[in-house]
């Protein structure tokens, strides 16, 4: 069913059943009264199924939206603060902290979140922020790798994202990243599990509709890590992918697996042009 027809139907149902607003709302997002966030913009040319890309922020209730408008209200900022301390703390056999190599996070990490996942020449592969952080730990600090979706690494990704808030997501999909991008696209449109649902079935064909109590968004990742009120913690991209795939009654891929890295590259590129928004607040 095409989206226009679905939306018209959703509108009619919302009236008859008293459902919450079915479409993305018209609000605008400014953080701390100064960081303007682009939450809706024209879809990049490489996205076939959408004309506009919309941040998940628009699909949340007003109270949830408000929590993201001020860092004092955003519970995700506690993770950022925790990571700020870790940034300065030496760890591992080399006795080094992140700050020893990278100095001030506000300066050296500004813009980084916006271009990841990214092809790394030396490693010869597409890397996520989590992968680079763990490489620094094991290769340069002589410390242990963090669990891919654990609190330590997710807090650190939140810190690195926070200093790029307001900058446009601009993930490269050409050159050496092209092959992995194609693989991610393939995964996005593959109908998995006993429910035979793809990411696109929910987040492209049905965003704006209600699936039980959930208001479906486009499943964008510009707001990650997201602080979810539901589990009261910061959630990483691969943890969310895992949950969505599991909900199709499928065997999931592992966080950090090449498949999820490819999917992250593809999904990130669907949000090119939206602002980096993490750590965001969702329900």
């Amino acid at each position: 069913m095409n989206f226009k027809a679905m939306t018209a139907l959703a509108g009619a149902l919302a009236l008859s059943a008293g459902l919450a607003n079915a479409d993305a709302d018209e609000d605008t997002l400014t953080i701390n009264g100064e960081i303007e966030i682009v939450t809706r913009t024209a879809a990049p040319d490489h996205v076939d199924g959408l004309s506009e890309v919309i941040s998940g922020w628009h699909f949340r209730a007003d109270e949830t939206q408000a929590l993201e408008m001020d860092d004092f209200d955003n519970p995700g900022m506690l993770g950022v603060e925790a990571a700020m301390e870790v940034w300065e703390t030496a760890e591992g056999s080399e006795g080094k902290a992140c700050a020893d190599c990278h100095e001030s996070v506000e300066e050296t990490m500004k813009g980084v979140r916006a271009v990841y996942p990214k092809y790394n020449e030396a490693a010869g592969e597409v890397q996520t922020l989590e992968m680079v952080i763990n490489d620094c730990r094991t290769e340069r600090m002589g410390a242990e790798a963090w669990n891919y979706t654990g609190a330590d690494i997710t807090n650190m990704v939140a810190l690195i994202s926070s200093v790029s808030r307001g900058m446009p997501v601009n993930v490269a999909i050409d050159g050496p990243a092209a092959e992995m991008w194609e693989q991610g696209k393939e995964l996005y449109y593959t109908r998995t599990g006993q429910l035979e649902l793809s990411c696109a079935n929910c987040h492209e064909d049905n965003y704006g509709n209600m699936i039980r109590a959930d208001h479906l968004s486009q499943g964008q990742i510009n707001g990650f890590p997201t602080y979810r009120l539901k589990n009261a913690k910061l959630n990483s991209v691969h943890a969310r992918f895992k949950g969505c795939v599991r909900d199709t009654r499928a065997e999931t891929y592992a966080p950090g697996s090449p498949e999820f890295v490819a999917l992250e590259l593809y999904v990130a590129s669907r949000g090119n042009g939206l602002s980096v928004e993490g750590p965001s607040v969702r329900n």
């Binding site: 139907l9 998995t192 064909d205 699936i211 065997e251 999931t252």
Partner: protein, 160 residues
């Protein structure tokens, strides 16, 4: 409409409940348009049970995508699929059985899951654990009895 529903319920409760052999998921015969003429259990279903299957999250969970006014007490009705009010005016019992058993035979490429199917899945998992399930252990999302109960419920949904 409400009266019709109760009348149908009464009819079902009085129906004989002897157990017959059910048709296996691989043996269901769909016509070209996706309809299934014969009851999967050889018996009429129970509309009251069907309403429960329809609304219960851990069973059919049809309300996650469909709204039904007759079930106004059931919270969180979704709208990924059309409202099923008056569905029995639009489709015959045979067509409804076909849609519930395997909607993809009626609507090519629909997002509606196939409720009486056990093969042809990509990376099937063991319920909602995220772990793999061996192909031979897959059971249909609903049993033949549950399908017939849902069909019995849906045929009561008439606007006239």
């Amino acid at each position: 409409m409400k009266r019709a529903f109760h009348a149908a319920l009464a009819a079902c409760i009085l129906a004989p409940s002897a157990q017959a052999e059910s048709v296996a998921p691989g043996d269901v015969s769909y016509d070209e348009a996706g309809a299934v003429a014969a009851s999967l259990t050889g018996q009429p279903g129970n509309a009251e049970e069907g309403a429960k299957v329809f609304s219960t999250k851990s069973v059919g969970n049809c309300v996650s995508c469909h709204e039904v006014t007759a079930l106004a007490d059931v919270p969180f009705q979704g709208n990924v699929g059309p409202s099923l009010d008056g569905v029995a005016d639009r489709w015959t019992e045979h067509e409804i059985r076909g849609i519930v058993a395997d909607a993809k035979k009626t609507y090519d490429g629909t997002v509606m899951p196939s409720f009486y199917k056990v093969s042809g899945f990509i990376r099937p998992g063991k319920a909602y654990t995220g772990k793999a399930i061996p192909a031979e252990e897959i059971t249909p999302l609903l049993s033949a009895q549950q399908i017939e109960d849902v069909v019995a419920f849906l045929v009561t949904l008439k606007d006239e």
